[in-house]
Symmetry: C2
Subunit: 541 residues, 2 copies
């Protein structure tokens, strides 16, 4: 049974989030549902049952394994279903509708880099498309096997067996890690050595190192080095024309960056089999505070000043009143700024004190007069910050629950300059609210900042409304289109960290320069002349 | 007279560093020379005269201006000579030998982006190669017009007239700046607004924003965001197939980075006409200290700990005893660690105190018991740090002087992981010292760290020896080859911030992956199908 995760010996759900039999109970979901209904005046529907594998029909596999690769390939129904859909609202809804229209013909589970080479070689010979698959957490249809008819079939290439931390270089505080490792298992292997990658994105449990690199994920750190890009020291990428390997360097100035040409390539250039990654010492000093602001604009001013202060807080988020209410962090009156520092080297009190001073200057209500100290906030797991954190961690489980109970809840995110933000925010909220009203009747649009930079924030929007059974995909498509148009017109990007995939392609094509598109296509064609790698993503198939 | 700098109304030297009639006096040079002779036992030779324009013979220009572009093009002897050689030892020596073998046929001085488009179009039609030229400070023959015979001629495209700060966005702390602006003139335009780019690389006076971006220059900040790459918010690049323009974004996660595909392209993909750049507030809090260590290894340990501390000092350099002696910062016994913090937002005393604690832990002799305060060190312009800084700033002027007085003095630099450093350093010093002995008799090899990262340093080596008149190019080639081989074998890069150009090409080709080379070539061919842009650099012509 190839679809069993090798480490935990558990099977991942083919629909929804997590391992079979795990997640949030129906009772908890109903509780959450009624609380949300009360707060936002939504209609709730009966909790729909998750699909069982027997209810799913998959089209026949069109591809027969090559004998020498048979041990790596699976036509198993569960595996194929598990690799059919990602984790956005449309994926969950289609799963609930038992619509698994684009299954891969086979799922490959390579055990080492040589296997990846062999599989790509065979795919090229046979005219098969290959879709690299890490944790499968894409919310942008990045792993959905929709490929042109010119291919004889499509393989989902699941890296879960490349899951080891292979080497640790203590002096250089870095580790050589295989691309298929999921967040928790990677941290389990780093912890005994005193290290952590501290890359706790929301999909942490079911996303892989290779997936983070391929999609330019943004992680735990809200300021400074936010993107996985900054933590890649070197990579190995199997392309159809050979292995790209880069030198282990702390920084390089020799020509165009080799790593950066493959980071963010979303499976279109090759398969990331391993990378040397920069690690963090496990922090021993921490301080965390939640600061309420009566006005959203004042919170924005404070967080902008923090972003430009050179203090580099590890956490620095802003929740608007709706987001606070939605997550249970607040009562819906205040904007809440969460700021935290962490260090393995030094007491962070002076940092926090200055950050709180900045908050006060902008009208933030810093509750305690005494200087924040490192024991305060107990890792930010109490108070408003703690409540928000709990909601954040359980988010992916709630998401499948919302789909089951007829709540339309989905997110989109962007980044823009500080000067562009006020208009972008106004236009996005207006467009999304109008679309929600039209599509759902009641509903709400919430905003938070997930990351901030000296030159701008990364705003993250949550939309919530009543779902129309059977119409959710269209409802969301209409809201998303309205919001995306506003984002692009106001100068934002279609994604700060959710990747392009197939879902964001129309807006991605609008926002990028044709000359860059030509350069990227040229690079891709050079390493993947058969265009077999994740066709249709980033570059025309 | 196109070769007059439009702002300062001065003419740049066609040989050496700086404006005509400016620089270091012969008396100062002789003084420096005899001090170096005494310290390193070198032979000094008579101060050779800089070439005059009448002594230079240039081959006839093979290209006639197109009438509609005549006002932008110059076949003027001074201009052509000025655009023939860069600023490395071989360039200075060849200039002293009056060898200007590869002059451009014409020098273009576009006045806006449209002019750049017109010039590239015309060059493509006429079969001419185009070499983008910023400040001309390349030490890697990146702007030397050596192109294949298949071209009918070659144009040096000098951006000096694109020298304005066009727009400032205060809220987003960024500015739209033309690519041809030189460091000082850019700062002059930012200063009245309270901003600075704080990108004070050694070539600051005669290097341009576009040049920094094209060559991935590393600047003032010794830790954290060191490279110009990190300060680019968006770009406009004129390629032969159109203008690449990217969105103004503080961070983007949509596919492969568009900016990063053009940053470091060294003129091979197009001409950077302007960029939105992230700025810094002018610092008001500073602290700077020089800490001597009796052992180099102890200094390395301390600076490694600093690099991993999360303190992010703005300056964090290590000078080995030879470097200290060479620059006058020390007496040649101690290794000196220079550490500095700066901020526009907060007193940096807590940062400095912790940094000095780290230095003490590694045996550094922190001279003062009282905590460093922000007034101390007066911007680091006094003491050992100040002496070193003075030598650093005058470096490019001294460099032409050394060539004139028969001192072979040149540098090379790299980056590697902390774990690779001890062996890299031992091998490099051994190979370079052996080569210096063989080529020069007496001499020395000095090392400093210009930048440090959590996973490794950027070591910078200075070689000094007695020159053999007429044989300097071969002497240096032999030393450079020996050192470069050691660098590559020990896991370093051929350049951390000096770029590849034509000079580093053999080693660059060794260190990069063939698959990446193919991808880069694919990208280049897509935007420059005639391969007219800086042929031979990065990609085969």
């Amino acid at each position: 049974m190839n679809s069993i995760d090798p480490i935990v010996m558990k099977r991942r759900k083919f629909w929804g989030w997590g391992y079979e039999g795990e997640g949030v109970s129906d009772a908890e979901l109903l509780d959450l549902g009624s609380s949300i209904r009360d707060r936002f005046g939504l209609k709730l529907q009966d909790l729909e049952a998750a699909p069982t594998i027997d209810e799913i029909e998959l089209r026949e596999s069109r591809v027969k394994s090559k004998a020498s690769l048979e041990h790596l390939l699976s036509a198993d129904k569960w595996s194929r279903a598990e690799h059919t859909l990602g984790k956005n609202l449309g994926d969950f809804v289609r799963g609930l509708e038992r619509k698994y229209d684009n299954p891969p013909d086979l799922v490959a589970f390579p055990e080492d880099e040589g296997d990846v080479v062999d599989i790509l070689d065979w795919a090229e010979e046979e005219g098969l498309a290959v879709i690299p698959f890490g944790g499968g957490s894409s919310v942008a249809q990045g792993i959905e096997p929709i490929v042109p008819d010119t291919f004889r079939g499509v393989i989902s290439l699941d890296l879960r067996k490349l899951s080891r931390v292979l080497e640790i270089d203590r002096e250089s505080r870095s580790a050589r890690i295989q691309g298929g490792v999921l967040g928790p298992h990677m941290e389990d292997q780093l912890r005994p050595h005193g290290y952590s990658m501290r890359f706790f994105l929301q999909a942490f449990e079911f996303s892989s190192l290779g997936g983070w690199i391929a999609t330019r994920a943004a992680g735990h750190f809200a300021t400074g080095f936010t993107q996985i890009d900054d933590y890649v020291q070197s990579m190995r990428v199997v392309t159809p024309t050979g292995v790209m390997s880069s030198r282990r360097l702390p920084c390089d100035g020799a020509g165009v960056s080799d790593n950066r040409m493959f980071i963010g390539s979303e499976g279109t250039m090759g398969v990331i089999t391993e990378a040397w990654m920069r690690l963090q010492d496990r922090p021993s000093f921490r301080a965390s505070m939640s600061v309420p602001f009566s006005k959203f604009e004042a919170g924005v001013g404070a967080i902008r000043a923090l972003s430009q202060s050179g203090l580099y807080p590890s956490n620095c988020r802003l929740l608007d009143p709706v987001e606070s209410l939605l997550s249970g962090a607040g009562d819906g009156d205040d904007t809440i700024l969460i700021v935290a520092f962490e260090s393995a080297d030094h007491d962070v009190t002076p940092w926090m004190n200055r950050a709180l001073e900045i908050c006060r200057e902008f009208g933030g209500r810093v509750e305690s007069d005494k200087p924040a100290d490192s024991s305060q906030g107990a890792v930010g797991r109490t108070g408003a910050g703690g409540r928000w954190r709990n909601f954040f961690v359980k988010g992916p489980y709630y998401k499948e629950g919302f789909a089951r109970m007829g709540i339309l809840r989905e997110t989109f995110e962007t980044a823009c300059t500080w000067s562009a933000f006020p208009e972008l925010h106004a236009r996005v909220v207006e467009a999304a609210t109008k679309a929600v009203k039209k599509e759902c009747g009641e509903g709400a649009v919430a905003c938070r900042f997930t990351h901030v930079y000296p030159d701008g924030p990364a705003p993250y929007y949550t939309v919530i409304g009543s779902a129309r059974r059977g119409g959710e995909v269209e409802q969301w498509a209409a809201i998303k289109a309205a919001a995306s148009e506003a984002v692009l017109e106001a100068g934002g990007t279609i994604t700060h960290h959710h990747a392009v995939g197939r879902f964001h392609r129309p807006w991605y094509d609008q926002q990028r320069s044709d000359v860059f598109a030509a350069a990227l296509t040229g690079a891709k064609r050079a390493v993947d002349p058969g265009l077999i790698m994740n066709p249709g993503v980033l570059v025309d198939a």
